[in-house]
Symmetry: C2
Subunit: 405 residues, 2 copies
Amino acid sequence: MSNDKLSVALFGFGCVGQGLYDVLNHSEVFQADIARICVKDPAKERRVAASLITFDKEDILNRNDIDVVVEMITDTEEAYRIVSRALGSGVNVVSASKKMLATYFSELHELQEKNGTALIYEGSAGGSIPIIRTLEEYYDNELLSSIRGILNGTTNYILTRMELEGRDYGEVLKDAQQNGFAEADPWSDVAGYDTLYKTLLLSIHAFGIVLKPDEVLNLGIQNISFADIRYAREKGLRIRLIGFAAKAGDKFRIYVLPHFVKPDDELYKVQYEYNGIEVEGAYSCKQTFTGKGAGSHPTGSAVLSDISALTYNYKYAYKKLNKLRRQRHEQGQTGNDLSLLDKDFTLKVYIRFKSKDELARLDIRHVEEEYRSPEVNFIIAEVGFSSLYALRDDIGQNLFVCVVA
Amino acid sequence: MSNDKLSVALFGFGCVGQGLYDVLNHSEVFQADIARICVKDPAKERRVAASLITFDKEDILNRNDIDVVVEMITDTEEAYRIVSRALGSGVNVVSASKKMLATYFSELHELQEKNGTALIYEGSAGGSIPIIRTLEEYYDNELLSSIRGILNGTTNYILTRMELEGRDYGEVLKDAQQNGFAEADPWSDVAGYDTLYKTLLLSIHAFGIVLKPDEVLNLGIQNISFADIRYAREKGLRIRLIGFAAKAGDKFRIYVLPHFVKPDDELYKVQYEYNGIEVEGAYSCKQTFTGKGAGSHPTGSAVLSDISALTYNYKYAYKKLNKLRRQRHEQGQTGNDLSLLDKDFTLKVYIRFKSKDELARLDIRHVEEEYRSPEVNFIIAEVGFSSLYALRDDIGQNLFVCVVA
């Protein structure tokens, strides 16, 4: 480090960046200052000194007096270029770009190893909840059996309002967009991609398994209708979009699916834009962590914590990842971790459909209930997971799948 | 360390100890084995090899092949003697004895510093919730403004059942004792001492302030009656016994008091024997951690995590404590941390009383409501905290005090 205080450069200067600037540069207590800010739009007015602003990433990446790069831009490929350049040139990085991190994890991990740099990203999963650090530091491998989480504030906000207000998906989504709880293009949230990226990052720190986004099943709530919510309500249940990762023998079960949850489930109580993560470990004890998921403040809070951690040289040790690799190496296993993903099991699911031929792609083992009416058809059945997994490429517009506990 | 696996000695062999024995000695994955167990009662049958058992603590403390002592006995003074002997002779210690830890913290901290040994105690607060490690590692000083927690499973169990079943304190306490949720002598739990010890330990790891049990206010639920629960219910509130610690300028406000909590408060949802801790930090974000508080499994889970942490040489860095001491030293402040305890503020409280002269000891600034009937008298008033603080020595049998949010 070049001096007492960390010299921080920001990429991106939205709400989170501006909040960070206020906290870091106007407070005596933090051992970090923002020295340079790279933004895209030269036309936009900024409420900081022009000398701090640059439009050229090279202005930051070519300097040798920057200790930490904080990357908070939306362009995944550009984010990857910036983060890998910084890590490769000995600069530590804080990032909250979950898609970029999940997509390029292997490359970024290698860069850290090779250059002795740190990439930390608490803001990428669980909003303000310190879940990555807790999984990494507290839950030793053998102490952890599963994690299940509501990881996306937007979908949880939509599900909560649909249930409490008795309204349909389209209406509530529109409202959420107007209130700033959903993006103009909500696909990444509602189709479960955002939850998927976060689930992949949590799986790395929970179990050491590294999977790519297109290797793991994510079905979202994009096809939900009020009929599904009504069904849940009648049974005293709620619907929650859950990212799940668990040990299963020597393998792991990992997926993102809507779930019915019961009132005694801690995730039942997680409402609106809140995130909640349940960790199950030794002695079958469960701990739940909740906090605001969406919005600039939770992310800012986590990013600030990461910057602060870098002031005392924190980095993820990737203990579980290293252990898993060692084990696989000893067992003569080669290739990526996809072979560790268990697909050979069944799930009991609720499937709403329009016409019966839409079910043809599913490996339905046993139908427990079947309901037909002019408006709604659904079955509750044990279904082979592999056939659900195959739906990740295209679930169509008529199926809604929800796990029955 | 003497070999690949940590050699662990147990003091105490109750439920937690037996569970630890099963997990550590019958699983290949843990890098720790139990080598010796010290117990008190020679007459009791044990389901482990007699060669593992000793009745003389010297058999363990005089050996030089023990890496870790796990202390889980109920006698505070004896626990202190064992833990300080071990730390002083270079042995790391895991303890869950909150009273001992809170009472002798300064001495034990000094022993760790002097001998380079580690004393870790996640099982001492928050049951299975990894709160101490999270406060120590994740929440840097400046990122944290307050913590408030339901830290005692027994009182929360009693409060929950009183409310849900509409029953009075004495009856529910008796039931709780029969069900194993309350001790034969419930005083430490119901009078708030257990919550106090935990609050003191959390305050050390949250803010670095070290206070002794008799320096901090704890009022419990020992004087509660169903009238108080009924009042809360009528207002849509619940009563929770809360340990509270927060920054207040250069000082800290720390106390244990019953509180009315509202439905939108995360602690409202924490029921029965669960613990819940809300941490408020940067950007005013709140995170809540919940998990089972009472019982051998949550404690066992935390103790196991601590043992596991010692296999990779973890120790608390006491960053905040060291920082606070440095600051105080620079400012020329001497003496203990009691001068940092803020007592100069008012709290809005509900006080139920029998006769008005019982209120004479209180510095009542402003009465907002007053209710009298043949059965129940209460006031809601702004009260100077110092006068409540004075009640910690003796609240008597007729006053019930509860903070109004």
